[in-house]
Amino acid sequence: MDEVEQMDVEQTEVQNVGYDDVPGTILTDTNAISEFLKKTKVQDVLNWGRKNSLWFTVNAMGCCGVELLATGMAHYDTDRFGIIPRNSPRHADVLIISGYVTKKYLPALKRVWDQMPSPKWCICFGDCAISGGPFYESYSTHQNIDDIFPIDVFVPGCPPRCEALIQAFVELQKKIEEKKDKGTEY
């Protein structure tokens, strides 16, 4: 109980210092700095860094997941684009929806998406993820997954080749460079 009272006292003291009175000072507990930087050339440098380190979650959902895993292997050497497979969504920037999304799996996929730190991007990989594919109008799958996730790149195919996924990453890099991606609000 004493600790809580002490914390309250400290917070009120900090708030009463009055940073708003000092001109040119921005409090760091808001998005004001990043909002300010988005209007300057610094954002170009940030985007250059972001587009060259697109780490993706290894979240193999359907048979397209095999292509996803193969893309992360040494044969395709995606490290030259800065694309690295990460086993934890907390390390990753890109979520690849690589298969049908069943009604039972959607809460888990949303949780994976929420665990990823922003800025984050989403790629729809394969016909199942785009429109349902062979599971179109099934009782157990979700159609229109792009209503739920902000998807930047769609990769059609059943399954798409690994080269197509690398191409999708290149397209995503172009979108980030042109500030047209959905992962950041400019």
């Binding site: 785009i130 429109s131 179109y136 109008e137 009782y139 159609q143 229109n144 792009d146 769609f154």
Partner: protein
């Protein structure tokens, strides 16, 4: 044992409970059982006729016959005969005794059949939703009169 002797043994042991049998070939036989005697027949099959392997268990919906047929496919490690055992349940109240006490691997088969067809297994140890979300229980999606398919087309379907 071959197909004929198995059918003869079953018919002698359960003259009333098994009301129809068929020998499709030397390795495939069919027996239609009354639903309330399924566990007894399964226990006899496992203990006496060495049918030790329940390959699968599922159901089929027949609206014209007003029944849901629960089908057990039972194999053996000792002889090459596979038995297909069928039990016809009324469609408005499909209830049957669980065969988990005889074949333990029927546990997940019966949960799946309960999810998709609504066949209620009495005395099942853990009859709860298995492969579909809990809020879909009661829709029974694999029945022929299921109306819950999404009629909203995909936006980006050309």
């Amino acid at each position: 044992m071959d197909a004929n002797s198995i059918i003869a043994s079953l018919s002698d042991k359960f003259p009333d409970e098994i009301y129809d049998t068929d020998i499709e070939s030397n390795i495939r036989i069919v027996a239609k059982v009354k639903p309330e005697n399924v566990v007894d027949v399964c226990r006899y099959l496992k203990d006496e006729l060495s049918f030790g392997h329940l390959c699968c268990e599922f159901a089929a919906d027949y609206p014209d016959r007003n029944g849901i047929e629960v089908i057990y496919v039972i194999g053996s490690y000792d002889h090459p005969v596979i038995l297909t055992m069928k039990a016809l349940l009324p469609r408005d109240k499909p209830e049957i005794e669980s065969v988990v006490p005889v074949y333990w691997n029927a546990n997940w088969y019966e949960r799946e059949t309960y999810d998709l067809f609504g066949v209620k297994y009495l005395n099942h140890p853990n009859l709860k939703p298995f492969i579909i979300p809990a809020e879909m229980i009661g829709e029974w999606p694999l029945r022929k009169d299921y109306k819950g398919f999404p009629n909203r087309t995909a936006n980006n379907l050309v």
